[in-house]
């Protein structure tokens, strides 16, 4: 079963004192997919990634990346050999020049692609002799991406990869991600830019307060979430639409918006029985699904 997953975790948890950063996370990321890892700031995305790469130890639970146990020191080293990682802050050694950091990174990976390195150095207009500390944020991001793309990784883990990039850079990045995926590289990336995620991701995981709330393919998500706009001739109590699949109801006088997860027909049927003047069912953007999902969380936590 592990063979079809790039990442799999079971009840993976991390606590710092009394604070839980990640709570019993059961994550499964399939191979050869682009999986988006979404969540608000402090949701536990970076902590999860750091645990997957053996940078921090889980408090409890287990996990495997490309078949290797994340808590096993030797296996973790092997995981890092096969995984390219771009961190949230695009960490780079300020005291090195662009050329030095490329040479340094290259030395750890025998299957380094020099042609890709040269191509990206040219495309990103990175000055080889310049010190990293003098680069702009965007250039640092590009350099970090070069270091990841010039390798031949089995899995690419990117934490906010488009941060600091201009629209041209973002476009280039998204195209690169699709190219990498078509070459058989599994991609697991976190981002706050949901419009970008929607363009490239096959699968979406949403984390909130350390817990996984959504783990579905983007197509499934799009199919299952619907917004139903209703108009009545008089105001209708919201209770009439409190079904288990209803996420949220907004009422403005005779107008009502119902946000449902799966089976919109129950709401449509009830609306027709209540003589709705207008029933309009429309698909929901990933951004709205994300906002709804994380908005629900405080109520769920109280249950």
């Amino acid at each position: 079963m592990t063979n079809e997953f790039a990442i799999i975790t079971h009840a993976l948890s991390k606590s710092y004192g009394k604070n839980s950063a990640v709570r019993e996370l059961d994550l499964s990321v399939k191979l050869n997919r682009i999986t988006a890892f979404l969540g608000r700031n402090g949701a536990g995305k970076s902590t999860t990634i750091k645990m997957l790469l053996g940078m921090i130890r889980p408090t409890c639970g287990s996990g495997a990346v490309l078949g290797g146990e994340i808590t096993d020191t030797a296996a973790s080293r092997n995981i890092r050999r096969r995984v390219a990682y771009v961190g949230e802050d695009k960490p780079l050694y300020a005291y090195m020049t662009v050329g030095q950091i490329v040479r340094f990174a290259k030395s750890f990976y025998p299957d380094w692609r020099s042609d890709t390195e040269k191509k990206l150095l040219y495309e990103y207009e990175l000055p080889v002799e310049r010190k990293v500390k003098t680069l702009s944020k965007g250039m640092r991001t590009k350099l970090a991406l070069l270091l990841a793309f010039a390798r031949r990784p089995d899995l690419l883990i990117l934490d906010e990869p488009s941060e600091g990039l201009d629209p041209v850079g973002i476009e280039h990045l998204l195209r690169s991600l699709v190219t990498q995926a078509s070459d058989g590289v599994s991609i697991f990336f976190s981002s706050h830019q949901i419009a970008e995620v929607e363009r490239v991701a096959d699968h979406v995981c949403i984390l909130e307060k350390g817990r996984l709330l959504v783990d579905q393919s983007l197509d499934e998500l799009r199919r299952s979430y619907r917004r139903i706009d209703l108009v009545f001739d008089s105001s209708i109590p919201e209770n009439e639409f409190r079904f288990s699949n209803v996420q949220r109801i907004e009422t403005r006088g005779r107008h009502m918006s119902v946000f449902v997860q799966s089976n919109a027909d129950t709401v449509v049927e009830r609306a027709r029985r209540l003589n709705a003047l207008s029933v309009d069912v429309s698909p929901v953007a990933l951004r709205d699904i994300f906002l709804e999902t994380v908005r629900e969380e405080p109520e769920r936590a109280l249950v």
């Binding site: 940078m55 020191t73 890092r80 780079l92 340094f104």
Partner: protein
């Protein structure tokens, strides 16, 4: 390449220290050679001994600074995730730092004394090369423990100012305590040559205090083991 990284990381600190120590020794010995301090004219051996006293102070400050850095410091400046994402263990990271550091520590002990030899040759003063060699051995082999004290502190504290401040504090404390209660076992006195020098001739004996040097090296190894232990247990 980890050694290359360690070298690039410490290069500015090392070169600045090397230039300062070398310049200090050359100028000190040149001036003391009759230009400013005529009393040294007749007592070259004493001049070398005094040079070692001053050199040790600056050398210890320099090697403690060279011991700073590593993963804990990287966590504070945000590059730790780049380093820890490399397919290498924490032990290798630490060993490469120590390896490069030891070479730099040796250079910091050797080059200033080579400058002294150069000045002596220029002003045509006779000196015993064996005495210079003895001072270098005492400084480097006996004083390696100070570098590893710096390394150990750097695996515990990551602050840009707090780590060196704590390291200097520890070194000072060790020097004061050993000087007050364990005078015959003081590493500071061992390194300056104070424990073994003949006060009438200001010559170091033919046989260096190897037992003391060995003890100091053992203490240095203990510091290294503690650093490895601390780094392996760290969760970052």
């Amino acid at each position: 390449m980890l050694w290359y990284k360690s070298w690039l990381e410490t290069k500015p600190r090392f070169l600045t220290s090397l230039a300062t120590l070398t310049l200090f020794c050359a100028v000190f010995v040149y001036h003391a050679q009759g230009l400013i301090r005529p009393e040294f004219r007749l007592d070259l051996n004493r001049l070398l001994f005094v040079n070692q006293q001053f050199l040790v102070i600056m050398w210890v400050l320099s090697v403690v600074l060279l011991g700073m850095g590593g993963i804990v410091r990287e966590k504070a400046i945000g590059t730790t995730s780049l380093t820890l994402a490399l397919p290498v263990g924490r032990f290798s990271l630490l060993i490469s730092r120590i390896g490069v550091g030891v070479l730099e520590v040796i250079a910091l002990g050797l080059v200033p004394w080579l400058a002294v030899v150069g000045v002596m040759s220029i002003v045509r003063k006779p000196f015993q090369i064996s005495q210079v060699a003895s001072y270098v051995v005492l400084l480097v082999a006996g004083g390696l423990v100070f570098f590893l004290m710096g390394v150990l502190v750097s695996t515990l504290v990551g602050g840009e100012y707090t780590a060196p401040a704590l390291a200097f504090g520890v070194v000072l404390l060790v020097a004061i305590i050993s000087d007050a209660w364990f005078r015959d076992y003081s590493v500071w006195r061992l390194v300056t040559g104070d424990l073994s020098i003949d006060r009438s001739t200001y010559l170091l004996p033919r046989h260096l205090p190897w037992l003391g040097i060995f003890g100091s090296l053992c203490f240095a190894l203990l510091m290294m083991a503690a650093s490895v232990f601390s780094l392996q247990r760290r969760d970052s």
